[in-house]
């Protein structure tokens, strides 16, 4: 709707005040611009949409192999393995 002091106080004359839909005259006035506006909307919407999908695809390729695992000694590893086995047995019962 047209912005401005007047529009903020009075509802637009170009809306049906019962159904709040555009009047036929409003639709006719916008008709010459409809397809061009639609194309502009499509182009503008395509920019964030393509950025989103590009990011999604790019991040999906990462297997996180480059993240370093902190060093651990052989003894600690045996201990952890044993704990893990024990837990599994308990669950198995």
């Amino acid at each position: 709707m047209l912005l401005g002091k007047r529009a903020a106080i009075h509802p637009s004359k170009y809306l049906n005040h019962k159904t709040w839909r555009m009047t036929p005259s409003f639709i006719r006035a916008r008709q010459p611009y409809f397809w061009k506006n639609f194309a502009t909307f499509f182009i503008l919407a395509a920019i964030p949409t393509s950025a989103y999908f590009y990011t999604y695809k790019f991040l999906g390729k990462d297997d996180l192999a480059d993240i370093e695992i902190p060093p651990i000694s052989e003894e600690d590893l045996k201990k952890l393995k044993a704990e893990y086995e024990a837990e599994k047995k308990l669950e198995g019962k």
């Binding site: 047209l2 401005g4 002091k5 007047r6 004359k13 170009y14 049906n16 019962k18 159904t19 709040w20 839909r21 009047t23 036929p24 005259s25 409003f26 006719r28 006035a29 008709q31 010459p32």
Partner: protein
Amino acid sequence: MAACFASAVRFANNIVRNNPQVRNIASFFRNALGLDPPASPDDPTTENRFHPWDSSPSAELRTRAATIKANAKCPVSHKDIQYTCPISGIPTHHSKEDWENDLEYHQSKRYELLKKVNIYEHDLRSGRPFPEFEFPEEQESDMLVNFLNWDTFFYTRLFYSMDTEFNLAAATKILSYPITIASVLHEYSPYFLKPKGPLTLEGLKSIAALRYTLYPDETSTFRDRPLRIFVLGARAESQLPAHIWKQLSYLFPYVPLELHFVGPECLFDPEKNLYIQSDTPVVKRVDEDFALVHHTNFFHVYHKSQDFLPYDPYLDVFFLFHPGLGAPETNGQWDETIKGLLESKCAIFTTGYNEFDTNRDINWLLSNYNKDLDILFEKTNNIFGSTKWELNDSNPHELYQFNQQLFGFRGKRYHAIKK
């Protein structure tokens, strides 16, 4: 099955109509679903505005039907007119056989336009409220006016929403005069330079001079008088109320404008029902930026007595609404006026009722003044012409619209040439 369904609908409609509580519930659901409310029986439609003119509820239209029957001739048998076309409701032919035999009438579908004449005239006399005549005032400076067509103009100026052809016919007929002037002079004019539009290079020179005055900036030189818009041979347009002409001034804010009506029929006294003749110009000042001035004699009289001097292409422009320059009725009357107009070197714009009328005017101009004039504006359909169809009472087959065609010319200017 269909009949059964139809009777069920009729039964339901009866309940809704007769029971106020049910009616409220029905309208609540209709609103909740966003459906259109049922049309009021007073709203104009083609059906409820159609009456044959000779049995019309309006006495005025019955008289017009009688005038057609008395004066017009049937195009087929060239006898007097007695038969009323059942499609358009307007007396058009001598008899039913003539009507059936008039192939041109049926092929050109002229009855559709005649029917529009009929329903628009009945709508104006229907006594319904006319909210389309509530006009907006000042345009907010951050809202541009779009001159692409009537719809965009009405919307950007925030007129009443002209939804039906009846609204448009009523409003455009009177607004056509001021808005036609504005659409030519305005910086966002819909008429472009050739080949994209009808404006010639000479036309652009004239219009640029006028726009220099209409859109002043800090480099513009001081103007010592308002821009004068002359309306020559003014008839109906001079009787329009001042607030309708003020619509022109709203489109050029802060620019002082004067509208000069010139012609013996430009000042009408409705109480005495006669045209007033006055030796001095009659001025009606609307506000400090806008005034209407009536000069009740022919232009060439004032031109010879040098009343309008000095002419300035930056500050003067002429508009001739349906002058009928080449029409047989005005034979020779325009001769001296056109000479004066061409001497002034100011832009002149004319309109015509239909293509035939305008072609006749242009042919007359070119055959008499070809050497002395430059075309500013090729003949084109006026975007801001009236959408209401009219018919000629002495020949109902001649249909026209006010300000349908637009054309512009100017006296040739001779520049100094370096040899």
